[in-house]
């Protein structure tokens, strides 16, 4: 988890020019860090590459739009990292 978070936080800091020390596991990518959907594409690209996965952004967006999930479930960084860990585990299973 911690190494996943470090990787994700470094990607966000580099991609969006956000000071690394302001990014915490509790940060909400949209509400706290101000990352918009276009910047999130760059982040998703970097995360996909770094972890060898494909973040299911379309599915997440649909779930949020349908009221089946909240943005916090996917865009608070500790939750995002947990999803990444799940995807990595599923890939190697």
């Amino acid at each position: 988890m911690s190494s996943t978070f470090d990787t994700v936080a470094n990607i966000i800091a580099e991609t969006c020019d956000i000071p690394r020390d302001t990014i915490t596991p509790e940060s909400h990518a949209i509400d706290d860090l101000g990352i918009d959907s276009l910047d999130f594409l760059d982040i998703a690209f970097a995360i996909d590459k770094a972890f060898g996965i494909k973040l299911p952004l379309e599915q997440w967006t649909q779930e949020v739009n349908d009221g089946k999930a909240t943005t916090e479930q996917y865009f608070v960084l500790k939750n995002l990292c947990a999803r990444i860990d799940e995807l990595v585990a599923a890939k190697s299973a």
Binding site: L38, L41, D42, A44, F45, K54, L55, L57, E58, Q59
Partner: protein, 157 residues
Amino acid sequence: MRPEVFKMVDRIVSIDPALKTIHCQGLVPEESSIFEGHFPGYPIMPGVLLIEAMAQTTGWLVLARNRFEKMPFLATVKEAKLRTFVVPGQNLDLHSEILHEGSGFVVAKTHATLDGKPICNAELTFRVLSWPEGRMKSVVLKVAEHVQFPVADYVDA
């Protein structure tokens, strides 16, 4: 090529079977209204239209990959380099290679050449979205036939 109506690709030369790369061609016309302003007495292709040509090239590849189920929309242009002037009468070779296909987006590396010499290049990101309501998909399919897109191979009946 008819730049005044944003038709930048004349024909699709090849799409590799693995759907990683595409090669298209576009002949810069001798006459076009865009040259009235760019520039008077010194016609050169606007750089933004060269980027558009590379984007459309990539777009055909993305459409082949998703079998026309969704439409790619240009979202990001990175590392764009316009290396030399392009003038009327030049026939450009347009190439694109998929770097990554994510969920709802595609990243590609694209470039154009003239007689094998590099003209321009860029890294492009597209949002890949459901077709909008209306006639857009049918129009794109019609254009596909005009540019010799292998429709039968990549469009489900």
